[in-house]
Symmetry: C2
Subunit: 406 residues, 2 copies
Amino acid sequence: MKNIIVGQSGGPTAVINGSLYGVVTEGLAHPDKISHVYGMINGIEGFLNDRIMDMNALAENRELEFVRTTPGAYLGSCRYKLPEDLTDPVYPELFRRFEEKNIGYFFYIGGNDSMDTVSKLSRYAAGTNSKIRFIGVPKTIDNDLVETDHTPGYGSAAKYVASVVREVTADASVYDNKQSVTIVEIMGRHAGWLTAASVLARKFKGDNPVLIYLPEVAFDPDAFIAKVKEALKTTPNLVVCISEGINDGKGTFICEYASDVGVDTFGHKMLTGSGKYLENLVKEKVGVKVRSIELNVCQRCSSSMLSAADLTEAIGAGTYGVQAALAGKTGKMITFIRRQDHPYELSYGTADVNHICNKEKAVPTEWITGDGSDISSAFITYARPLIQGDVTVPTKDGLPVFAYRK
Amino acid sequence: MKNIIVGQSGGPTAVINGSLYGVVTEGLAHPDKISHVYGMINGIEGFLNDRIMDMNALAENRELEFVRTTPGAYLGSCRYKLPEDLTDPVYPELFRRFEEKNIGYFFYIGGNDSMDTVSKLSRYAAGTNSKIRFIGVPKTIDNDLVETDHTPGYGSAAKYVASVVREVTADASVYDNKQSVTIVEIMGRHAGWLTAASVLARKFKGDNPVLIYLPEVAFDPDAFIAKVKEALKTTPNLVVCISEGINDGKGTFICEYASDVGVDTFGHKMLTGSGKYLENLVKEKVGVKVRSIELNVCQRCSSSMLSAADLTEAIGAGTYGVQAALAGKTGKMITFIRRQDHPYELSYGTADVNHICNKEKAVPTEWITGDGSDISSAFITYARPLIQGDVTVPTKDGLPVFAYRK
């Protein structure tokens, strides 16, 4: 009989706790092999400080059911990077603690950096003949992990973005007797997956968002202004969606173009986002009413637009992770394999975690059209299944009920 | 047999189309008295340019059902203010157009300025013995209209704000091994009703948002910093909610404190919000990790957090408006009269529109506690019934279906 330890790392998503739910419930479904499931509080960093909690207790009361639909990271997160050097004393220290807790299976739910942690621990284990199995469960709203069709967390974030852009379009259209431009800045520093999802907001051909810009294609301010002027002729209330990471293709982010804007009252340099920069550019060059909207952290932590497909798969990734570990796998990340688009069919698989960490998957350039200002129907075919289905989040007194550590 | 004309004015809300739905359905429910319901496109301004549409057709196909849960303003809005001078030629021009369309009943759904329009038109009608009846149907997320317990639009906006602040709290807590401050800036220039609703996000005593600041109480930056330092001792990941309109009590908005921040790349003066100013202040004086989040237009246009109570009342206000007009009332705004809190009971009434326009209702100062940094339980008793119940918005392909003018 062995125990499981599970942790969460990196930025939160709307369904990372779904994967936690999957690991815990599947772990406890094998009482012949698994005695206890422990959670690391604040990831591997908290574990090193002895901050763990017993997840069996959570499953015994109703609390685990609320964890399932709670956004954020129930166990807390960290951004701790293990040393490259596997002879560093932190490794024997970690494994001593694993032995102390009789850990047989280690699960880390996270993105790129978390897979790096799984890679290092599994390599150290191999080098020391440890029998502990290490599995990565993917999550990231950025959808930029390789070797998997998509990542848990992306579907709900994409649904949130598409829905909000549709709402912003409704809001922008109320004064349709006057021309206006609304620029929506969406998360994504290096990959434009989330911004691309804004195309799903279109209700009909030619509907907003008319222009969409991703970091994968070099951004040309002059060409942008020409596109805006052209689009205003047919769409008086224009909505433009941009990734925060749009850049000139030569290594400079567009937001850095505005770096000489001065200092705040305290002498700190003012930082301007790409959206704010383009707002000023449109004001200057086009002269119509313009505003920029930076979608905030709700992109990654809203439970109001959970995709049932995404939550189901996030839970499934956790469940499958436990099954894979019990079957002897280690040093793997759980992957999604798309069987077909219509009807959408998915199966789970595993990939060598060493092939995943420290790589980024960009939106294929053939999915970016309109001289870099639009998204193809191939992307829509890819993304639409991922936002399907609604999730009923438990409510009390008119508000969602979220689980939290007492 | 007379016709109805209905328009929308001012900023959008999540349920202003609910009131439109109420006016249209109730109007068409009296075929003995009402022949046609017309909609003004872009309010009174559009009407003056002959921009009207036939709402009967909309009711005959299924489209009106989608209007019911569509955020924004289906008919479009305007910010056109009628002249103070009732001898201005625009008045006979308007009434000539009313006669031409055989209008017997005029409904204007909006806030303060819209009630001013209803006031002027009804006074002009009285002076010229016109038999047309003018009714104002209230809407504003700001909840600042007098003579009514609350306004349609407030409940859904309050539910959205409370829900988002609860999500932001979940997001802020993931790195709870490090101190941080998150400042959430909420709409409300002069009245703090919407910001006060953030108190509903608290899951337990002492939970975030620990500090809440409204424009009704003079804001003291030094006292604020002392409160933040104190609060961080028990809440390492502190969430603070502020109204955009917090001010020093002497006529200066806090955001104006940062007015000397310099110009953008094009020489335009950079505007900084109150949240951004306080972010810089906390960075300077407290020295912990800090971020500010400006809740965007979704506060007023999200259909993801519709309050069933709010939508029902918004529709009811439209319905009751038609009934009041048919019963002979004119120059009135529909009001909400709260009968009791537990169980919540409401009835509709009317008030002289002249007593409403150009006045603002502030949050009672006795509901603001904690030296101006907290909200009392009396407010919670007031606000909680207004956010109850969920609304199922029709969806297609995983996204909400919104009505729009073809």
